[in-house]
Amino acid sequence: MNLFEPFQFAFFRNGIIVAVLAGAICGLIGVYVVLRQMSYIGHGLSHSIFGGAAASAVLSVNFYLGAGLWGLLSALMIGRVARRGKIGSDAAIGVITTASFAMGLALSNLFGQAKRSIDAVLFGSILGVGGTDVIAVIGAGALSVVVIYTCYRHLLFATFDPEVADVSGVNVARMEALLMLMLAITILFTMKVMGVLLISAMLVTPAATARMMTNSFARMLMIAPIIGAVCGFTGMLLSYHIDVSPGATIILMASTVFLVVFTVTGSRGRRNVGGLGHH
């Protein structure tokens, strides 16, 4: 078996570029997701975007336009319902995103011809990845790096200590909105390969693994995208050779790395990752 045989195919080359960049972006944004305990938001947003993706497929609207607008609308609705204060934000996310997900499933059942693309959105696919997707994910990656570089100190302060950041001249509300926007963009531009059902794991696993390996925020921001990219590359190769959806193999690779680091770092790593979200 020639391990690098699939590189002769253009669709695979596109797929692996997107998978490596998707892994890196998920790892990078995942650092904030994990440290701000936003993983449920990421999970919900990906399910919500599925509704938009299904509607886009049925109405033959551009995927990024339809799913992106849908995701933005869901994020705004989550914010509005949560701000009314009667129910918590977790309940608001649960209600709105599962309704959107259910609508996606209903559309999938009603319009059979759209089933193939809806399956691809759910579980990830390399067949549907084209040149536009490669450009889109490169753009999303570049945007993430530029935003994190220019807002590094503000984002760190607002993540670690929002109350003090607020009185120290950091616009915390703007930083939170920026992170939500980055999260939505990350999900939108990487879900074709990762799949809606598995992308939230990629937002958490590389960052949690990096947390076990370092006590420095700056180093965590460097380690997590490397883990994500390596898992994207190896997972994509494995996906081709064993004929399993790329989302599944990439997440399995990431889970394996997590398990190895969890074992090797011993009690220190367990304490670091176990303490995520706890004071």
Partner: protein, 265 residues
């Protein structure tokens, strides 16, 4: 006793003192009952004020209004333009599992004007200087969880001082710390005050902290009294503040406030 009803203020700063923050007729509610009612308070340059009161008395709300992180429902807060405020939160609210080193924490406080992620040579020099000032030299690379209780408290003081503030605001700086750390904090704050910095803090610790301050304010929804500890810490004011009888003793020139649970029996 100096009560707010007397409309006098023992220990008040001379008319020439410049006011950093002026709280004028402030009332606040979070949508339910009023938590602060018609508060007037002036924070002058170089002053040192402790705010005491029971849990739920509105101390932290008043602190947040002074800081500017909360807008009052009624009343106004006037702030001197360009004054620099630094805030030290309660250590209990800090996420000790966050992946961050001592230097990274201290560096945060001047983040508003600098875009570059990494520290410049002059910033590294300033961070080292403030860590040395607080007895934390050589600990910059350590994770915040790897320090002793006293060192952890001083890291957050270092972050505040690195901002070079005109006004230092602290929420319960001796809460959850041992006696030695409390002494360290009191001495450090006294030194900063002597160096000309205005300090405002809230505390539950009357004997360990409040009695050592030049000026204290008793708050329970309203400003009950303000002045020097000797003028303010009287059984009458304390009972109005805490809603329970309390006794004030003097020992070796120091005031001691004690509960008197059997006073009514």
């Amino acid at each position: 006793m100096t009560s707010i009803d007397d409309r006098t203020d023992v220990g008040a700063v001379t008319p020439s003192a410049r006011s950093l923050v002026e709280v004028v007729g402030v009332s606040h509610s979070y949508g339910g009952p009023v938590v602060l009612d018609h508060i007037h308070l002036s924070i002058e340059a170089g002053s040192f004020l402790g705010i005491i009161g029971p849990s739920g008395s509105g101390k932290t709300t008043l602190l947040r209004i002074i800081l500017g992180s909360l807008s009052p429902t009624i009343g106004t807060v006037e702030r001197e333009p360009d004054r620099r405020v630094a805030y030290v939160p309660q250590v209990e609210t800090v996420n000790w599992n966050f992946p961050i080193t001592v230097s990274e924490v201290v560096l945060m406080s001047r983040s508003s004007s600098i875009r570059r992620p990494w520290a410049t040579a002059s910033e590294r020099h300033d961070v080292s200087a403030v860590l040395e000032q607080l007895g934390l030299a050589g600990l910059g690379g350590r994770h915040i969880r790897e320090l002793s209780g006293g060192q952890q408290q001083r890291v957050f003081l270092a972050r505040a001082l690195h901002r070079r503030p005109d006004l230092l605001v602290l929420d319960e700086p001796t809460s959850g710390v041992d006696v030695r750390t409390r002494h360290e904090v009191v001495h450090l704050l006294t030194d900063l005050h002597r160096a000309g910095m205005a300090v405002v803090l809230t505390t539950h610790d009357i004997n360990g902290l409040a009695t050592h301050l030049p000026k204290i304010a008793c708050v329970n929804r309203e400003l009950i009294a303000i002045g020097s500890p000797r003028d303010v810490l009287t059984p009458q004011v304390l009972e109005r503040t805490y809603g329970a009888p309390m006794e004030v003793l003097e020992h070796g020139g120091l005031l001691l406030v004690t509960d008197t649970p059997l006073a009514t029996s």
